[in-house]
């Protein structure tokens, strides 16, 4: 049966808010960095996936397959503990960032590939006819249009990236929001209060990133 005797200690939990906000900043930082890196790699993967050269297509396809079809938790675990087997030791921060960036790149590659399909081949032809090179045409004509088509599905991954940072706790990440809440919880046992406040903070971080993305989109996609 339910037990209603628990006394909520919100005031006590709220005392830790400044520490939690510090953690929230770290979370925000990791999420944004993982998105910047992930988006950059995703563009390359999207192009490579449709390349006529197998040596480009195969590794890109492998990346997407692994990133999309294995748990994000394993990807972060592999970055921290797995790479150690090859003598590569990443700190929890770097491993978390690498794991999420890897995941972002895999998912976004497919989003971008779909967006590329939506841009008529004639745009490339028009660019090439003006004397622009292949890479130049892609960068100046195709890519900006691709980002616009891909914008809404990309925001999904943005939220997902923020929430995935909470998995860092499994590789010993102690400075992000979840890491800090976990520690506070171990000391105070105010589980419900602490995680409820953290949940609100995650919500606010996600909203902040969305707002930022919308501002960028508004500035970039005026047409």
């Amino acid at each position: 049966m339910f037990d209603f005797s628990y006394r909520f200690q919100w005031a006590q939990a709220m005392r830790h808010l400044p520490r939690m906000l510090e953690g929230a900043l770290v979370t925000l930082e990791i999420a944004i960095l993982s998105l910047v890196v992930g988006i950059a790699i995703a563009v390359l993967l999207a192009v490579a996936r449709d390349s006529k050269y197998i040596w480009l297509r195969a590794p890109a396809t492998a990346w997407v397959e692994v990133a999309r079809n294995t748990p994000a938790l394993f990807q972060i675990y592999m970055a921290h503990f797995g790479l150690g087997s090859f003598g590569i030791y990443l700190s929890p921060y770097t491993a978390l960032l690498a794991g999420i960036a890897f995941n972002n790149a895999g998912y976004l590659a497919e989003t971008f590939r779909g967006a590329l399909r939506a841009i008529p081949e004639t745009q490339t032809r028009a660019g090439r006819s003006l004397g622009m090179g292949q890479a130049q045409t892609f960068r100046l004509i195709v890519m900006p249009q691709m980002f616009r088509v891909a914008f809404l599905p990309t925001t999904n991954q943005m939220v997902w990236a923020i929430l995935m940072t909470s998995l860092g706790v499994t590789v010993g990440m102690a400075t992000d929001l979840t890491g800090i809440v976990q520690n506070l919880n171990a000391r105070t046992f105010r589980t419900f209060e602490l995680f409820a406040i953290a949940a609100v903070l995650y919500y606010l971080i996600a909203k902040t990133v969305m707002l930022g993305a919308q501002l960028i989109a508004w500035r970039l996609f005026r047409y």
Binding site: A126, S129, L130, G131, L140, Y223
Partner: protein, 240 residues
């Protein structure tokens, strides 16, 4: 001078051009007419090297287009092309559509590029649309913008690929007037077109394409007045 010699072109098993020979001299306007699938448009994309050819050769001012050693990006600066689907760059303003290649290909400063772009856009009657995005333009305006974009590169040759085919009949006139103006200024042009009146008025010679072959080429009076080839006769009797 554009010299086309025995050009064969196929897409997979489909032979689209079967031995085309054509020489276009400086200052000459040549129109190409013919039914769909006769290879007219394909020839244009072969001329600026967008499409490879199977055999034969195309030379532009002595430079062989499909030679491995040819720098196509450089060669294409000499040849402007305007397509049936205007191909405006939707993410750039009208002005930026025109300045992009000037800055990125010819390496001009923004100021220099804008000066040229404004002049070209005014020339085609779009001087008041500089800051507008292409989606806000009518088809005819988009097509004139595409013409200005090509002309801004100061090409020696212009290729027009059915530039009025996607336009509202009311807008065809404004684009054809722009082409006529260019012809009068002495631009060397190859126009693939379905506008017989235009072909007759502007061209020095008109070529009729049929199933990948140039069935007939003659001055407009002769081709329209007394067509020699039976297929030309058949085609013209249908379009009139």
């Amino acid at each position: 001078m554009i010299e086309i010699e025995k050009v064969y072109k196929s897409f997979g098993k489909l032979e689209v051009l079967k031995g085309i020979d054509l020489t276009v001299n400086k200052g000459e306007v040549v129109s190409i007419i013919g039914g769909s699938g006769s290879g007219k448009s394909t020839l244009l994309t072969c001329i600026n090297g967008l499409e490879p050819i199977q055999s034969g050769r195309i030379r532009i001012d002595q430079t062989e287009v499909h030679a491995r050693s040819t720098d196509l990006n450089k060669l294409r600066r000499k040849i402007g092309i305007v397509f049936q689907q205007f191909n405006a760059f939707p993410h750039l303003s009208v002005l930026d559509n025109v300045t992009l290649a000037l800055r990125k290909v010819l390496g001009m400063s923004r100021r220099e590029a804008e000066e040229i772009a404004v002049k070209q856009l005014e020339h085609v009657g779009l001087g008041d649309k500089l800051k507008v995005y292409p989606s806000r333009l009518s088809g005819g305006q988009q097509q004139r913008m595409a013409i200005a974009r090509a002309l801004a590169m100061s090409p020696k040759y212009m290729l027009f690929d059915e530039v009025t085919s996607a336009l509202d009949p009311l807008l065809v006139g404004e684009v054809l007037d722009t082409l006529k103006m260019l012809a009068e200024e002495g631009m060397t042009m190859i126009c693939v077109t379905h506008e017989m009146g235009f072909a007759r008025d502007v061209s020095k010679r008109v070529a009729f394409f049929h199933q990948g072959v140039m069935a007939e080429i003659a001055p407009p009076d002769q081709l329209f007045g007394a067509p020699q080839h039976p297929e030309t006769q058949k085609f013209l009797s249908k379009v009139r």
